[in-house]
């Protein structure tokens, strides 16, 4: 699974790997907007898969499904 993700990401990246130069005076907002539209499906699918996977793991671990939690670790203990 990790391998597939890695390969697809590298392929996607190859399309953009031209050297990047600075155009700091222009608002970079549009590009940030567009990239999100591009990756929305991917991050959404990964998120769903991870919840689904955690559900399965919990099912086997505790013998019953729990509330799915993607990350329950607080940033500061």
């Amino acid at each position: 699974m990790r391998k597939i993700i890695r390969i697809s990401a590298i392929t996607l990246a190859a399309a953009f790997l031209s050297p990047v130069s600075a155009m700091a005076y222009i608002d970079p907002g549009t590009g940030s907007y567009v990239i999100q539209l591009l990756i929305a499906g991917f991050v959404g699918a990964m998120f769903t898969l991870r919840i689904f996977w955690k559900k399965i793991v919990r099912l086997f671990k505790k013998g019953g499904p729990d509330e799915p939690k993607v990350d329950d670790k607080p940033p500061v203990p």
Partner: protein, 466 residues
């Protein structure tokens, strides 16, 4: 038309970008005006439960709605009084761990906001401050109602948090200082250029930094009609989750730096070290400061003497590793009164932003009740060639009480500093030190540290100083 703020109100010079409202100070109290244009978002934040979620979880400062005249009545909807933050610090003063925790706090807030039908419209690192040892959001007006559109603060999050964290972890920890140059965070094209090439093979870094930078470049110079395509809630949550996983896995590799093992290498014997702690504690009891700055704090051993007495203490050091260790110790001990920060005393944080006033300089954030300057004077006087007169004058500007240590030339640490340089410091004597400091302070106590050649002083600022 909005009326001008009345002359007795002082609008905060760093609070002008957001039309939703602004901070102002009246009679020494900090208030935030919520403008009428922000009304529906503010009501949703407070009435919809998110405010309670965030304040209960310690992720945002609490505020009180108060009935005081508005600073700009024509635009006002509400006036709130936020809980004060004792010391405002900036991302370029945070160590890696502090920036990482601030980043994760921002993402946790966004996650909770999405659950309540709201979203962060800003993800600026300056909106996070450390209160009682934990990062909290201080900008109550950072939310807006969720529309199924891309996350508007994504770019800012990547520039303010992700790029510097990755640069520090994967290139060089000193690159955290880039935040001091770039007010709106590290430009992503620069981050992409500086990160090792191998980071392009990590899907999440490739996506959030390299592709993101490329996309910015691609669309920067052309006017494009971006299709209004909705983004699902799952995608928005997925984006936060992806960023959080990346931030969580980004680690600071600990290496030994110049002073990292200072306490293990110092010439203090265990006995003398304990003696020094005892004397400093005694001085703190005598001075009873309400706030302390520990300058050259290393890993914060002496800051803790103040912090554990419940005195809010800022623990400054030049070495990012020492600050990192200090912060980890504070987190581990759930300490609420020690804030470790990176600061080069010979070149402290300047005032930056518009009119040099958006982010205060280090000096402008003083004065403080008491300063600890332990094992510091020889670094300033010998490593930085600073005359005693200049050191004394600056310390007088920032504190009322001074706990300072004199380290003589015969001390092995000073001999080490002089090993590779010519001794052009004939004036570096205890007598000259006392004479110069006595012009600005009255010396209340001078106690030699048994088992060493050093002396600890308790001084009080003189009103009639030169």
């Amino acid at each position: 038309m909005t009326s001008l703020p009345s002359p007795e109100d002082r609008t905060h010079p760093g609070s002008f970008r957001d039309p939703s409202g602004f901070l102002f100070r009246r009679d020494g109290v900090l208030y935030r005006q919520v403008n009428a244009v922000y009304r529906e978002h503010f009501d949703e934040l407070v009435g919809g439960g998110l405010y309670k979620d965030l304040t209960d979880a310690g992720l945002m400062v609490r505020h009180e709605e108060v009935d005081v005249p508005a600073a700009e009545p024509a635009a006002a909807y509400r006036i709130i009084r936020p809980e004060p933050v004792p010391f405002i610090s900036y991302p370029y003063e945070w160590c890696f761990g502090e920036l990482k925790d601030a980043a994760r706090t921002t993402l946790r807030i966004q996650k909770l906001a999405l659950e309540r039908g709201l979203t962060l419209k800003d993800a600026s690192a300056y909106n996070i401050q450390f209160l009682r040892g934990r990062p909290v959001l201080i900008d109550t007006l950072s939310f807006e109602k969720l529309r199924m559109k891309p996350w508007v603060a994504y770019r800012q999050f990547c520039q303010h948090f992700l790029a510097p964290l990755l640069l520090m972890a994967r290139r060089d920890h000193r690159l955290g200082q880039l935040s001091r140059v770039f007010l709106d965070g590290v430009p992503l094209d620069l981050a992409s250029l500086l990160l090792p090439w191998s980071t392009r093979l990590r899907p999440s870094i490739a996506m959030h930094i390299h592709l993101h930078a490329a996309s910015q470049k691609r669309y920067a110079s052309k006017a494009v009609a971006v299709k209004e395509r909705p983004v699902s809630l799952v995608s928005l949550k997925g984006l936060v989750d992806s960023l959080d996983r990346l931030v969580r896995r980004t680690e600071f590799r600990l290496t030994r730096t110049e002073w990292g093992n200072y306490y293990k290498e110092t010439n203090y014997s265990d006995e003398a070290f304990e003696e020094k702690k005892r004397i400093v504690s005694e001085f703190l009891e005598l001075a009873k400061p309400r706030t302390v700055w520990d300058l050259g704090a290393n890993t914060g051993v002496f800051s803790r003497l103040a912090g554990r007495r419940g005195i809010p203490t800022v623990s400054f050091d030049i070495d990012p590793l020492a600050v990192e260790l200090n912060y980890r110790e504070a987190v581990k001990g759930k300490e609420t009164d020690v804030l470790p920060l990176i600061l080069d005393l010979a070149n402290p944080s300047p005032g930056i932003g518009w009119a040099n006033a958006e982010r205060d300089s280090w000096l402008a954030r003083g004065p403080v009740d008491a300063v600890l300057a332990l094992a510091l004077v020889h670094h300033l006087a010998i490593s930085n060639n600073l005359p005693f007169a200049m050191i004394a004058r600056t310390l007088r500007r920032i504190c009322g009480r001074l706990i300072i240590e004199f380290v003589p030339k015969s001390d092995s640490q000073v001999r080490r500093l002089l090993q590779t340089r010519e001794d052009v410091f004939p004036g570096y004597t205890q007598k000259a030190f006392e004479d110069e400091f006595a012009r600005h302070f009255s010396i209340e106590r001078a106690v030699p540290v048994k088992g060493s050649e050093r002396t600890l002083y308790l001084m009080k600022a003189r009103d009639d100083h030169d």
